[in-house]
């Protein structure tokens, strides 16, 4: 998956096309996903599910469990989670570069995008298990 190396396909221009475009595209899509979904997720898991009396709680839990058990929702969730992870870790990487680790720009890719990838694989595995 390392689009970060070498020139773009059919390149050959003087400048080196970097894989940054690829990571940026993931970052950008992830930003939209995170903005659209994450606040609602937080409200659900943080406030709606734990709140209320036992009856309400179990009803909501059931609704939640039912929803995430549905195939299309699983796929969608995987998409949202994966992209959001890449969004976050891309920002973390650039944040580290901006505060002085710029010279490790390349080296930082592994831990940052690696973590995002690992978390995504984990999420996929979890979703498969529902």
């Amino acid at each position: 998956m390392s689009a970060g190396s070498g020139t773009g396909p059919g390149g050959g221009g003087p400048a080196r096309r970097s894989g940054e475009a690829f990571w940026w595209a993931l970052f950008s899509a992830g930003g939209v996903m995170a903005a659209l979904f994450v606040p609602a997720f937080v409200i659900v898991t943080g406030f709606l599910l734990p709140a209320g009396d036992a009856a309400v709680a179990s009803e909501r839990a059931a609704a939640f469990a039912e929803a995430v058990g549905w195939w299309p929702v699983k796929v969608a969730l995987l998409g949202v989670i994966t992209l959001s992870f890449f969004h976050c870790m891309h920002r973390v990487r650039h944040l580290l570069m901006d505060v002085g680790l710029r010279r490790y720009a390349g080296a930082l890719k592994l831990p940052c995008y690696g973590a995002a990838l690992a978390a995504s694989v984990w999420a996929a595995w979890v979703l498969l298990g529902i």
């Binding site: 059919g10 400048a15 096309r17 970097s18």
Partner: protein, 250 residues
């Protein structure tokens, strides 16, 4: 003079022939509420100290030569009014993120190279003869790039962008906005050629959308917006590259 008061200017001084470190020198000048900071600097040069060195020409905010840090803010000194600072002292420094040649004069070498790098001119496969008249361009097509063509190369945005200070490869806000201006021009066909440069490692991607470039821009060019748009175009161009061999797309 509309006010008999005085105002103090603290000016950054550095002379490469005698100094290794910069220092500040204070000057007291007459305060006139119609004056801009540049008028005060000129007054110092004319009447107190001819060695104070700075650039200026138009005094109407369009030649782009008088950018300096005024109380820590990148400003056109011909558009920064003394009345907005009086009675406090005004501290004037050369633009940050650039090497200092002398006093308030910074080196423009890197900046000029970056402007050059984005190929800021119309590139076409088929060039019409002038006898065929102008290329048609609707007001709507003009509006797509007009804002990005308003840059006066004052470099205030370079002083405001932290990435410029840290990343040499970064082309910076004004140059990227200029590249984008031509990419968006309906008369131009050079986008992929230009993108070749902009897509390289940190040339454009170094920008983390801090956004202060657009905040300080005196001409509302919005380089921050231009760069984000250019990134989206760049990403498309990048993925297109996988599908279509270069050259086929024109």
């Amino acid at each position: 003079m509309s006010n008999n008061g005085k105002i103090t200017l603290e000016i950054f001084r550095y002379h490469p022939e005698t100094d290794t470190e910069p220092r500040f020198q204070s000057y007291e000048v007459p305060y006139d509420e119609d004056w801009v900071v540049l008028d005060a600097i000129n007054w110092i040069k004319d009447h107190i100290d001819g060695t104070v060195t700075h650039r200026w020409s138009c005094r109407m905010g369009v030649c782009g030569s008088c950018g300096m840090m005024v109380n820590g803010e990148p400003k056109l000194t011909c558009a920064a009014f003394l009345k907005d600072y009086h009675p406090r002292a005004v501290k004037v420094e050369p633009l940050v993120n650039f090497p200092v040649e002398r006093d308030l004069v910074v080196s423009m070498d890197g900046f000029m190279d970056k402007l050059d790098a984005v190929k800021p001119y119309i590139i076409r496969d088929d060039v019409n003869d002038t006898s065929e008249g102008e290329y048609l361009q609707s007001p709507a097509e003009l509006a797509r790039y007009k804002q990005f063509s308003m840059c006066i190369n004052c470099m205030l945005c370079y002083a405001a962008c932290p990435v410029v200070g840290h990343e040499e490869e970064f082309l910076g806000p004004a140059a990227l906005a200029l590249g984008h201006r031509y990419n968006k021009d309906s008369r131009d066909q050079g986008q992929s050629e230009r993108m070749e440069v902009m897509l390289s490692d940190e040339a454009m991607w170094g920008c983390t959308f801090v956004g202060e470039c657009s905040v300080v821009c005196p001409k509302h060019v919005d380089p921050a917006g231009a760069i984000q748009q250019a990134k989206a175009m760049g990403a498309q161009e990048y993925f297109k590259g996988f599908v279509m061999p270069r050259g086929a797309g024109g």
